[in-house]
Amino acid sequence: MSSKGKFKCVLLMGLIILISLIIPTNLTFALEGNESSKLGRIILSDKETMNTLDEYSLLVSPLSDPIPSLAKVDWGILLNRSSFSNKSGGTMIYHNNGNASTARAEFSRIGGPGEITSYVNGNKITHVKQTDGGYLTLYTSTSSTLGAQRPTLTFGNDKVRFIGN
């Protein structure tokens, strides 16, 4: 749109805002009549005063791009450091050679500080962190050969299993 057109749009928008503040918008009155007023009440239909939706859309400043989720960016970094293993249904499963400490560090890093709730069941704890991109969880699977911990992070449709010792 040219700068001249933009100026006209801004001017029109300002006029409409001014009118909508002064006059009720469900039914538009040219002037509210009263006993002392010499002017009668003139009712205009909304169609004559309101722009169409398309016309309105030209007056509204376009929204800026949504701010990317910090957690999703951080999660992407983790996936880049992991290798794809398999896909089960809608879940993409990755393996990371890090160990339990790595998993805990990643859990802290992804999405920055956030509210964490821990759920204890016997010797196992599942941690759930609220991030700006959704819930991040950390839970622990068990190796049958070593009895070692195999922590797993889940976020969205992905799962990263830490298989290092």
Binding site: N123, Y139, S143
Partner: protein
């Protein structure tokens, strides 16, 4: 339950699966006349079909349940307990991570019996089978052993 324990089950002759190294992918569950579970080996793309067949009894299985892996820390505890038992009894360390177990002194079966006590008379030989896939724990209560078929697929990887 304190006495519940896992026993490794070997239903496959040449088992390619290992829980973390070659995860068993859950493909499909079908329950019409027979109860069917299909799993896939991601490396070879081969599919393993476990079929619990309807025979003399009205239904091929008693019941089943499926949980996302994260939701069963109790099963992880049972695995830990099994590892400790193996060490204490001087057994050799496992060379792979099992994906098939039978559960003794099953809490799942005990829960079922608490609702339907007649099971002990009607289906006295019920077993609890546990399948561990990459994403799910699938448990089946049945008197039967499943028939297993292997479908060899052309590897498209």
């Amino acid at each position: 339950m304190k006495n519940e324990r896992l026993v490794i089950w070997n239903p496959l002759v040449n088992n390619p699966f290992s829980r973390f190294d070659n995860e068993m992918i859950f493909v499909k569950m079908v329950y019409e006349t027979n109860f069917v579970l299909i799993f896939k080996d991601y490396r070879s793309a081969n599919e393993y079909t476990f079929t619990y067949e309807k025979k003399e009894k009205p239904y091929p299985i008693i019941t089943f349940r499926i949980f996302e892996e994260m939701a069963r820390p109790d099963i992880e505890d049972l695995i830990s307990k099994m590892v400790v038992e193996n060490i204490n009894e001087g057994r050799d360390k496992l060379e792979y991570e099992p994906t098939f177990y039978k559960v003794e002194n099953s809490c799942f079966l005990r829960w079922y019996d608490s609702i339907f006590g007649a099971r002990e008379v009607l289906q006295p030989n019920a077993e609890h089978h546990l399948f561990i896939t990459s994403n799910f724990f699938i448990e089946v209560l049945s008197e039967q052993q499943p028939n297993i078929t292997l479908e060899i697929k052309e590897n498209k990887k």
